[in-house]
Symmetry: C3
């Protein structure tokens, strides 16, 4: 998330009651989680396991619960007891959750020749382009950006919260919600089927590239980036922070794990599971998804086990 205008380390430190280690006049331009962080950003870390990743990240400001770590030269540290609460406080300040009071927020910008059907909810700070059709009973959450000639079928939810939690198994409630402050960006000529769910980014954006088409009941996780001209059949599920490059086809009920990449023009056959990155231009199948020709031969090999058995044990 970008701040509407830069704020100083001093201002942030006062908001979250932190000690500044470094230049208190330095200006922060936004806040992001580790996967999406860039120069000017604030990032937070509350577990020694991740200290190193955060201190070496592109972030300029690190909210941290250890004031003995060595400050990298080009960074500002913000020391406090509970970095996760500090994160929530900053998000709450810049993107406070407010109750919607109408089905279509008055702030919505809706382009020419776009049809918003009955029963559609549109949150605050939403922009929808021209020539779109938003079918009945869909939900378009806060901060969503939709291009031109986009079609969204009924019952679909754009911008549900990221499934992203801070885990503390010593507490009675193990999982604390990492408040989502990101958005969903949908480019021109995208079509999304009925009863799909597209999660917003935790701090950045979930993106769907131009001309991509999705069938019904498809799930897209937070911060996932989907290229142009992809085709996802019904009930496909894609976890968070994954990258699907241009022209990828996923057939029905395919599952794709988080933080991986599927290369350009790859095809994944129905019901396959993708636990790690796949190179582009090929067809994959099975769990874990492997090249389809190889996997099909494997199915044939399995059918030959009885023959092997007979040969081996008859020779006794």
């Amino acid at each position: 998330m970008e701040f509407p205008q830069p704020v100083t380390a001093k201002w942030i430190a006062e908001l979250i009651e932190a000690d500044i280690i470094g230049d208190s006049a330095r200006e922060a331009t936004g806040i992001n989680e580790l996967h999406k962080v860039k120069s000017g950003d604030i990032v937070f870390v509350d577990h020694p396991k991740y200290y190193d990743n955060c201190l070496k990240s592109a972030a300029t400001f690190v909210i941290i619960n250890d004031n003995t770590v060595t400050k990298p030269e080009d960074k500002v540290l913000l020391y406090c007891d509970k970095p996760f609460d500090a994160y929530l406080k900053i998000v709450q300040h810049f993107r406070p959750f407010t109750a919607a009071s109408s089905m279509i927020d008055p702030s919505a910008v809706i382009g020419k020749d776009t049809i918003i059907s009955p029963g559609v909810f549109i949150g605050k700070d939403v922009v929808i382009g021209e020539g779109c059709i938003i079918y009945p009973n869909t939900t378009i959450s806060d901060y969503t950006r939709i291009g031109n000639h986009v079609i969204i079928q009924s019952g679909t939810v754009i911008g549900s919260d990221a499934f992203y939690y801070n885990t503390r198994k010593t507490e009675p409630v193990w999982y604390r919600k990492m408040q989502s402050c990101g958005a969903v960006i949908i480019e021109d000529y995208v079509e999304i089927g009925a009863n799909c769910t597209i999660d917003r980014g935790v701090t950045d954006a979930t993106r769907i590239g131009q001309g991509t088409k999705m069938d019904n009941l498809v799930h897209v996780g937070h911060d996932t980036e989907i290229g142009k001209n992809c085709l996802f059949a019904a009930q496909v599920g894609i976890a968070g922070a994954t990258k699907i490059e241009d022209g990828v086809t996923l057939w029905g009920q395919v599952g794709v794990s988080k933080t991986l990449t599927i290369g350009e023009n790859a095809t994944v056959l129905a019901q396959s599971g993708v636990p790690s990155s796949l190179k582009g231009g090929k067809t994959y199948f099975g769990y874990p998804a492997e090249e389809a020709g190889y996997k099909r031969r494997e199915l044939v090999w399995v059918k030959r086990i009885p023959e092997l058995w007979k040969k081996v044990f008859q020779e006794d």
Copy 2:
């Protein structure tokens, strides 16, 4: 789709700016895509790969972008540069998309003792029989026909558009939507769970036979025909133009591919995948789904590989 009244080849040719090869006075009664075409129908074809199928189909009229093909004796050809655009023009003429202005279109015909809950959207030209319960926040799209004593749980979408595209990978946007003008027909005593999606036919109808029951989050593709007394557990997905005969049971998360047939009284066990037709009266399992007894033995054979290995390589 049937036209409200027959139209001459001449009338159609003027609408789509085509040349007529054949009898210009001949009357067309409807338009359908290749899977559903019948005598009196118009069909379109824009790729040489499918010319033959269309010219040999039951259609009386073929919109085609090649005026050198040999006209079958009993047919009328409508020659134009862009048959796909011609198709869209005809559909747009007879079933124009119009924005809904209310949650329940005034054209809806709703039977005695039928309950339409709050938050339900009903499009135009919808007929719902007697003694039905339509639960809150469901969407019933244009042209849907629902019989008597049908129950539809909350959040379900009846009549979302077919996931059916015209592909041109040379264009910046590869997939162009094949405008759906078909319907969904639901017979008596059908029950559909919550947050399901039933796509309308592209040009004909998706049908759900009497007494069939579906659990939640089930997807049924366009033009699929489902028999009587079928039972589909949660998260089943069925692709387009498939035929499920009477009395078929599909357990949870089963996936069924397109344009195939599952025979009467077949049972497919949970999470199985069905890539090709299955005979009736048997129980299937796995991917690709095979007879359950055979498949279970296969799982046992796989567990015997280590023993085989030991035997074979110890003998060295």
Copy 3:
């Protein structure tokens, strides 16, 4: 379901036109199906296959279509021709289905600082605690109980009917709906994603324990009990009357069958299928789900079949 006040066997017998075998003054406190039945309850049975289970169950009253069975000493039998219809009559009496006339029933009790977004449907006799957020276009059905600090994302349906039918294949309509009269109980700090479906209990309750978090498009069947601090990723499906103990993690697209138990702190990896109970504290994978380490080795063994084949058949 508990009755609002106890009723005598005589009163019930008159309602359902049954003969009483036993003490007609004995008081019934509720009605439940076999899985959930307890002392004071009525249960019904209409098939000899289940007579024994019902007669030996904890129920005090058994509605049965055979007056020749031996009455257990501590029970009252209610003899009638059609026990299933008798069940429906009792449920219909105590929990009649009535059409909702507004999006939020006036009987709803909604706690302090709870946000009910636009487009939310709330049925009758619903209680929602404090500090909850119910996102747009969700459906909260009759009798639901929601604790404090619960978040429900858009489009989710709480309390859809159980997928539970009385089967008679000799009738034209094979499956008759077992009318649901149960509820959904959601404890504090639970979060449920977008477009999920949580079925109500048939006669008792579906329960989701404190601090459990679910991603989008998750299905939970009727009467299922989910413990505290569970984590379910997107598109998980859990059938009816199953028990998921505390701290269980189910990754994306996992399917869990009915009436089984997954033990405390078990983890089931993505796309796995669980057909029978799993012990706690371990990680499982595949279909049928087995210990992940074992299953991973099995995948490796399959890849060695060609080598085995070569060795065995080259030796000929």
